[in-house]
């Protein structure tokens, strides 16, 4: 089934919040997932895998704790692509001075939308390289050396200014998420919904008057 990109964004935001991350991170993740889907990648699939992988960890465990040299999480644990990505976009200017290396980055595909945000701010092309392959973006289009990068669950990556190369993906207006990934995101999103009670049913939306008038 095909989904509107707005549906992807709305569900991703709720799912990331349901997985215990903060609202601001959820907003970033939602836009990132949408960006991947627009470039023909199943962003919902990558996001659901990342949320499963992050289970039991807090944002403090997952965020970049060290960014003066190589970016790392605390205790050299895996670095979350959402939190590293947000920091990359926020600190895009640093890429003008030098490349950035991230150690043990989980699901590097989810870093690409944030790299695009940085590229748009710098008005240049940024390239990500790791053992699984390379990707480049001018902020809008995405070039890939191969599909392996999309499957990678963890990698040491380098991000630097470069050229748009590889297979440039066609952009699409609808998302085609894997059904099981969509279900997973819905399961996480469900954790943000308050269980229905009769009291909330009556009072919470201010009903009580008849609509048969």
């Amino acid at each position: 089934m095909s989904y509107a990109l707005n549906e992807v964004e709305a569900l991703a935001k709720r799912a990331v919040r349901g997985a215990g991350m903060s609202w601001g991170t959820a907003e970033e993740a939602a836009k990132a997932t949408r960006w991947l889907c627009r470039n023909g990648i199943d962003g919902a699939g990558v996001l659901s895998a990342l949320l499963d992988h992050n289970q039991g960890k807090t944002e403090q465990d997952l965020r970049p704790a060290e960014t003066s040299g190589v970016w790392r999480a605390v205790d050299d644990a895996q670095l979350c692509a959402l939190l590293a990505g947000a920091a990359l976009s926020d600190g895009a200017l640093k890429l003008k001075e030098a490349s950035i290396t991230m150690q043990r980055l989980s699901f590097p595909a989810l870093l690409l939308p944030f790299m695009a945000s940085a590229a748009a701010q710098l008005n240049c092309v940024l390239v990500l390289e790791c053992d699984a392959g390379s990707a480049s973006t001018d902020g809008n289009l995405l070039g890939l050396s191969n599909d392996a990068l999309l499957q990678a669950t963890s990698a040491d990556v380098v991000i630097r200014i470069g050229d748009l190369t590889g297979n440039i993906l066609s952009q699409v207006s609808r998302a085609q998420p894997a059904p099981e990934a969509w279900d997973t995101l819905n399961t996480y999103a469900h954790k943000t919904y308050a269980p229905a009670t009769e009291a909330s049913r009556l009072a919470g939306a201010g009903a009580g008057l008849s609509d048969n008038d």
Binding site: E27, A86, G91, S173, G206, D211, D213
Partner: protein, 564 residues
Amino acid sequence: MGASVQNSIPRRDPALVMRLSRLGSMHQCRLSFMRVLTRRLANENWSFARPVFDVDAKGVGHAVYTATGPARTYSLVAFAHDLPPEERSDRVIATAWDATFTLFDGVPTADDIERLSHNIPYQEAGRVNEKSLSVSRANRSVRLWKHMVDALAIGEQPDVDKVASVGYLMRTTAVYGSGKLGAADHETIADRPEFDAPFQVEMLSVFLTRAFVRDMINHMARARGGAQAAELALDIAHGLGIGNSTGLGMAPFLINHPVLLNNWVAAREEAIARVRSLNTAQEAEANLFRSLFARVQVLVETWRSEHPVQIKKLVALKADLEKVEAYLGGDDLTANSPWDRLLNWTSAALSEEGQELIASLILEPYGELVDDLSPAMSDHRPDASRILGTMSVKATRNLMRAGYAQALETDWSAQENCARAWYVSEEKLEPRLGERFEEPIAEYEQPLSPGRDVALAFADLKTWDDDALVSEFLMNHPEHRHSIRRVQINACAPYSEIQDNTICADMMPIDMLRYKLATFGATHFDPRSDRWLRICMFGNAPYPEELTPENADLWVYPDAEGNL
């Protein structure tokens, strides 16, 4: 927004405009989305047709209404149902309705209709594809529907007082657009000129729905009365709008779309500033204002509400209108910055209802000066949500002090200041508002209290050096990311925040709903509780086939005889 006009009078202060009580006193104006739509349809000479009306004697079937403009055709596909009264509910949690609709991009084939017939009647439980631009549903006003069918079936016209007391035969209970339920994303149609202004898809859908409802009542009367039945008189039909029941969902929308909120408010404030800045007015302009002031009094006379808060506001508004009448008796409105003087006078003399009604009304003679602002009401800046990490902690704090003074002064530890929490119920994902200290809902709270959240971020920023970058702060404090984003948006979009407490004990959600609906162009606001509102859309408007440039704009103001 283009600042092509140099105004001598600035826009009003966001700290004045963005209070809930004022937003909750807002009125439609030239820039309202319904009026933008009817002006365009008329000016571009759109044509309308009803290629299908296949409804049986019980009122079950479907119909198609087309609207064709210079480049494209859109079709309202309407499904009519026979709904048992026990299933009739305007709530999100309803599962069946009197009628269901989709606005289709193009003209549907028989296969499209077949596919839609298995999905549209089920609304949220169905799916559509990108050929659908909106999905909506409506319920009858049972009282008025029965009265009208009874009267028309025996060859009589309905009682005009009964018609006026309700104002509509059907009320929509949700109009979904922008990708909901699988419909087309707004981005895929945003480059079409007919969708320059916001919510034009939804407004077109409702405009065509009104024609369908009129045709349905005539059809049902004929089905019962046969040759004896009368056709609904045109002047009575004009008085019928489409009702709308709006619940809490619209309140989160305003808070979740700060750039859009800014652009809506800023466009109207810019229009007001342009008109106030005129040193003189032509006699024809002053006369148009006077005649519309007389007509707006007719509109207010037919505005009924049973809600104590609105009753009180209506009493004040009617007293305001008398004061304005006296003022107009002593001023010819042509010299010495007439509109600025008038608004300065209203700000001291009238209630907020009266002030905002007059602020909207002074725009009416100046279409050429202000109508170009409507495209700027859309959100053309998708990257506005990107955080500027190089902003210093000091600059961030200063923005907070400037834009969130009210929130920073609030004692958020006091229970009455955070008594409520917004949440989403697992039951059909209905947005709700609960009591934080009485119900187990805090852990499900939605981020709809920007003031409190900015105050929390402000407190954590206190220990940071002035020169530190906000990117460093956010790396350490991801929990403040949504707040920093809003603060930065507010810096360049000064009307983006409601400058009031959205979770305190005495907050009235209907104030937010009222603002959004007034911006759509709705009238006759009738709160059903503090969080639930009924309104009327397109009341007194021409029907599609009657639309001309002459009647496309000022229909919202009925004359004393109720004519167009």
